[in-house]
Point group: C2
Amino acid sequence: MNFLEERIVKDGAVREGNILKVDSFLNHQLDIKLFNEIGREFKRRFAGLPVTKIMTIEASGIAIAAITAQYFNVPVLFAKKSKTVNLDGDLLTTTVDSFTHKTTNTVTISKKFISPDDHVLLLDDFLACGNAMLGLTDLVHKAGASVTGIAIAIEKGFQDGGRILREKGYKLESLAIVDDMDPQTGKITFRHQD
Amino acid sequence: MNFLEERIVKDGAVREGNILKVDSFLNHQLDIKLFNEIGREFKRRFAGLPVTKIMTIEASGIAIAAITAQYFNVPVLFAKKSKTVNLDGDLLTTTVDSFTHKTTNTVTISKKFISPDDHVLLLDDFLACGNAMLGLTDLVHKAGASVTGIAIAIEKGFQDGGRILREKGYKLESLAIVDDMDPQTGKITFRHQD
């Protein structure tokens, strides 16, 4: 097991409804030392590839994106879920269904912050159905930029997002892939990764 | 002018409706090097005071909180605006009106992540009416913990939040306090700080 898988086993909890609770370190309380380990590992996995910007979607991916950006020495751009008076000018929008929140969001970025020259690393804390990442790839393509890869902390391997994104040809790196988890016993089975 | 004031003058823009647009570096695209300068300066301003946790509210405060937490060597806790299946157990809630989004949110944290022993540094990108920070102080007090101080990147000094929080006795440190801004000329006047 790698450092993240070990932490999930130690501090995560499995709940009914395919919920993996990691709120003590990943998406409510944030262990910033762990996030630095995550950032370093993403840098290792995408070493040598062009990355000019890290893009995520609010809210729980933002902190991991910010810490990871230190290892790539690039800015972060986070897509916004709500309409806000803080964005104006040319906007790029797409639609994302949220598994976690049972809602559909219009997701927005300002066109001026992403250009055809950009090589974008997409990043999020969780990958499940893949809707958020598909939405972000759509925004990058609408901007004429390219997707260098997708960096995920925890992938739910028993849902379709990972398969869909890999079949589309994206370089998807998930630090922990949960292939099975049992709310009765709490047992979590990770996919073997080299 | 300090480094943040200089950046606001260089890359910010004043819009009608008391909007200060800093989306190119602070709350949409994120300049992580700048955030490290912000984090170091917060550490300097709260040096010697007890801080066991940094608390913010989703979404735009999260990245600054994560970077700043590296200088305090503490975890971050971010209050959630939406109902989510990721939180369960004992919750603490309060209500916050958003100036930016023109909405009222029920804001939630898990009680288990904040104890009476905690000394909490509240942090956000903007302070305007103060509702978000008043909500967070309410959550900290409900948990029986103490507020060490409030760390803000940009305070709109012509709105009431800063005055209200200082009158309540909180140590409020805003790196840039905008006392006046003119959408016609673009001129921004900062409050003098030692």
